[in-house]
């Protein structure tokens, strides 16, 4: 699946997007997999209260299932307007 990062999440991880091979069934499981990879992921996902997630471009929750999902995006709370 495609995993996208925005704003400071992108800066901490050092990538705007990547393709991830995973068997994670929920967003939380995917986060655990990513955190165990490298320190930069651990730094990006250290505080989930500071993060939001979108599944296939719809805001979602960390306990949501990844079944059928093609695109996951992680970013800080939005600051539009």
């Amino acid at each position: 699946m495609e995993v996208l990062y925005f704003a400071w999440v992108r800066e901490r991880i050092g990538l705007p997007r990547e393709t991830v091979e995973t068997r994670a069934e929920t967003v939380l499981q995917l986060i655990d997999e990513l955190r165990s990879r490298e320190a930069r992921y651990e730094a990006a996902f250290a505080d989930l209260n500071a993060l939001r997630v979108a599944l296939d471009q719809e805001l979602s929750d960390f306990d949501a299932t990844l079944s059928g999902v093609r695109e996951v995006a992680f970013f800080p709370p939005m600051t539009g307007g």
């Binding site: 471009q57 719809e58 805001l59 970013f75 800080p76 709370p77 939005m78 600051t79 539009g80 307007g81």
Partner: protein
């Protein structure tokens, strides 16, 4: 309804002039314009606005459709820029048309409240030798509760 997420500046006068033109049943048009505000005392070199192409347009359209469902509205316009902007530049505008002004004002406020917290934009302030992401404010999230 027109939604535009764009890098280029927009012509506020031309947009306001053509919006809802000829809709003779609309007695009220409200426009709001957001402008890059300098830091207190100056020092903001630029505001960099990042967004999520694809999701941004969908999220704004959903917000605008909800506004049209809640109020008696005619046309709705949302223009939001991304990229690097300097203080004084216009970031975005919304326009609402309605038979009566209360609907037009309330819908414009609703659009602004939701665009701030539910449209995937992120702002980074570039100052003299320093840069930082603008944090979302609790009051912006709380502003959604009134709707």
């Amino acid at each position: 309804m027109r939604i535009s997420v764009q890098r280029e500046p927009f012509d506020l006068g031309a947009e306001a002039d053509s919006f809802a033109q000829g809709a003779t049943d609309m007695g009220a048009v409200v426009t709001f314009t957001g402008v890059v505000r300098d830091a207190p005392g100056g020092g903001l070199h630029a505001m960099e606005i990042e967004h999520y192409p694809g999701m941004t347009e969908k999220a704004i359209r959903a917000i605008a459709e909800e506004a049209q469902a809640r109020w008696s509205l005619g046309d709705v316009l949302v223009i939001h820029r991304h990229g690097s902007l300097v203080p004084g530049e216009r970031i975005m505008m919304v326009a609402t048309a309605a038979p009566h002004r209360k609907d037009a004002f309330e819908a414009a406020e609703y659009l602004m409240d939701y665009l701030k917290s539910r449209a995937p934009f992120w702002k980074k302030e570039i100052g003299e030798g320093e840069a930082g992401w603008v944090a979302a404010k609790d009051e912006d999230e709380a502003a959604l509760d009134r709707w």
